[in-house]
């Protein structure tokens, strides 16, 4: 079989990706065993793999995973609904947009996680604090990308709508929104990244809830393989969200 046939195979990118990951893990394992990386800072990948069983059986990982996933889901739903609505409002009301867009952009790069003491005072040491911190951190990219998507709708598509005498709501639902959808989803994905980082980060900081608290516990016990195994579950939450958003986007807009 020639190289060209292999690289054109449908499964090739997946196999290549998994192969690269496996090669990287093996390289890290080798570097640690050779002493190039300090094993007291980075545990052996083989130890992390062995730690999975312990973390799953002894640390109630299913419940922690569920908690973190639900907190992130609640914050994700909030940034989507509120962010898209605010983006639409700022797109429609030009004065409001010009007055606030810079602030929203500044907020996107601000380390909002440092505000957690304030949120602790308002919401207490509870899931509400974690969700609200995730919401505040993930909101700005959704607003900004919604404005960008709506403003970037090609003029000719709007003119097509006008030529068919579409009403304002029809123009939004049938043309502006579907045209802006890919950009809005970029914003939602970015927002979800910030949300998830903040959800896990605040769980870690206030020692409450799901995977963040587990990582905190394991780190304090200096169980490095267990800590890294728990981080793998955080990555799994992230993967779940990305699969979910991709699926929703495909459903809303089948082909680009």
């Amino acid at each position: 079989m020639s190289l060209g046939v292999v690289t054109r195979a449908r499964s090739f990118p997946l196999v290549l990706g998994l192969g690269a990951l496996a090669a990287m893990i093996l390289a890290v394992e080798a570097l640690i065993r050779l002493g190039a990386i300090n094993r007291f800072i980075v545990p052996l990948p083989s130890q992390i793999v062995m730690a999975f069983e312990r973390v799953v059986l002894e640390e109630d990982i299913a419940e922690r995973f569920r908690l973190t996933f639900l907190e992130a889901l609640a914050a994700g739903a909030m940034i989507t609904v509120v962010g898209v609505s605010l983006g639409l409002l700022l797109f429609r009301v030009n004065v409001l947009r010009r007055a606030t867009e810079t602030w929203v952009a500044a907020m996107a790069s601000a380390p909002t996680v440092l505000m957690y003491p304030l949120f602790l005072v308002i919401f207490g040491r509870s899931a509400s604090t974690i969700i609200m911190m995730g919401f505040v951190a993930g909101l700005p990219p959704v607003i900004l990308k919604t404005i960008e998507g709506l403003a970037g709708t090609r003029r000719v598509l709007i003119n097509v709508g006008k030529s068919f005498k579409l009403t304002g709501p029809q123009l939004f639902l049938k043309i502006l929104f579907p045209a802006a959808l890919p950009t809005i989803f970029v914003g939602i994905r970015l927002g979800l990244i910030f949300t998830l980082i903040n959800v896990v980060g605040v769980e870690f900081l206030i020692n409450f809830g799901g995977l963040g608290q587990l990582i905190n516990d394991l780190a304090e016990r200096y169980d490095l393989p267990g800590t890294y195994a728990a981080i793998c579950f955080v990555i799994l939450v992230s993967v779940c969200f990305f699969v979910l958003t991709e699926w929703i986007e495909r459903w809303l807009r089948p082909v680009d």
């Binding site: 003119n159 006008k162 049938k174």
Partner: protein, 290 residues
């Protein structure tokens, strides 16, 4: 031998046509834009009259106000003087009797071909089954059978433009208004699509107003050609194209076709030169220090 009838501007604009009154009447349209260099008259006292079933082409050099005229007739531009009337009714804003085909690619990328074509029927509130049935007829009319479920990204530029034409025709407009619909296509595709437009126009007896800067396209398709001057856009001349119908792209090889092309180029040469000089002058001044 076919002959061309030419009329001077004032005569052409005001010639009474009681026997075949225009389905689309454009009267004394003036449109001025405010620019940093001062007011710019884009269209100046342009009048035209399109008869039912007629194919009228408006031709002129870049910057002569063709697209401004297109947007005014289509109801996308206001703040002008003059009157646009469809079947005797003065039009303000987009009118259901006028269907527009745009120069730029205008299919909806998130809709399949059939969903694109059925779009105006969906807006009109026609039941899904009925509108899809109807859309299929218009897809067949533009020769895209078998592509109903494809998405625009899977089609060529010419096919996408045919989808846009089918979508406009699905709204069953009395007047089809096209703004350089083949401008982004190569010459061969342009000729073949011209054939398709001619066939549709003949099958539906569709009144059509084509805005173009392409002389061969205008002569191939039109019954009459309205030649515009460069800025401000005025009617310079109206040329009757007396080529036999039904017509096809074969007509481009005829002697009469060549004569019409030469005649219209003769009218346009001076205008195009003015446009070019104007552009060069502006580019030169733009480069000068303040």
């Amino acid at each position: 031998m076919a002959s061309a009838t030419t009329l001077p501007r004032s005569e052409a604009a005001n010639a009474p046509r009681p026997a075949d009154a225009g389905i689309l009447v454009v009267k004394e349209i003036v449109k001025q834009f405010d620019t940093p260099e001062g007011p710019l008259v884009a269209v100046d006292r342009v009048s035209l009259n399109v008869r039912p079933g007629e194919f009228l082409a408006v031709i002129g050099p870049s910057g002569c106000g063709k697209s401004t005229l297109f947007n005014i007739i289509g109801g996308l531009l206001d703040g002008y003087q003059g009157v646009v009337a469809v079947a005797g009714e003065t039009v303000h804003g987009p009118h259901p009797a006028i269907g527009m085909v745009f120069q730029e690619e205008s299919t909806f990328p998130w809709r399949s071909v059939i969903e694109n074509v059925a779009f105006p029927l969906e807006i009109a509130g026609i039941a899904k089954k009925d509108r899809l049935e109807k859309a299929k007829k218009f897809i067949a009319l533009v020769g895209l059978n078998g592509f109903e479920k494809r998405y625009p990204a899977e089609l060529s530029g010419g096919m996408r433009q045919r989808v846009a034409i089918a979508r406009t025709l699905a709204s069953e407009p009395k007047i089809l208004l096209m703004d350089e619909p083949f401008a982004s296509l190569d010459e061969q595709t342009r000729l073949l699509l011209g054939d398709k437009v001619l066939q549709i126009q003949q099958d539906l007896q569709q009144t059509t107003l084509l805005i173009t800067h392409n002389i061969t396209e205008a002569v191939q398709l039109a019954d009459r050609i309205l030649v515009m001057t460069y800025r401000p856009g005025r009617v310079k001349r109206i040329v009757d194209i007396d080529l036999p119908r039904p017509r096809s792209s074969d007509v481009v090889s005829s002697e009469a076709f060549g004569r019409y092309v030469a005649q219209i180029w003769n009218d346009l040469r001076e205008e195009a030169s003015r446009g070019m000089q104007d552009e060069e002058s502006r580019a030169l001044h733009a480069g000068e220090p303040p």
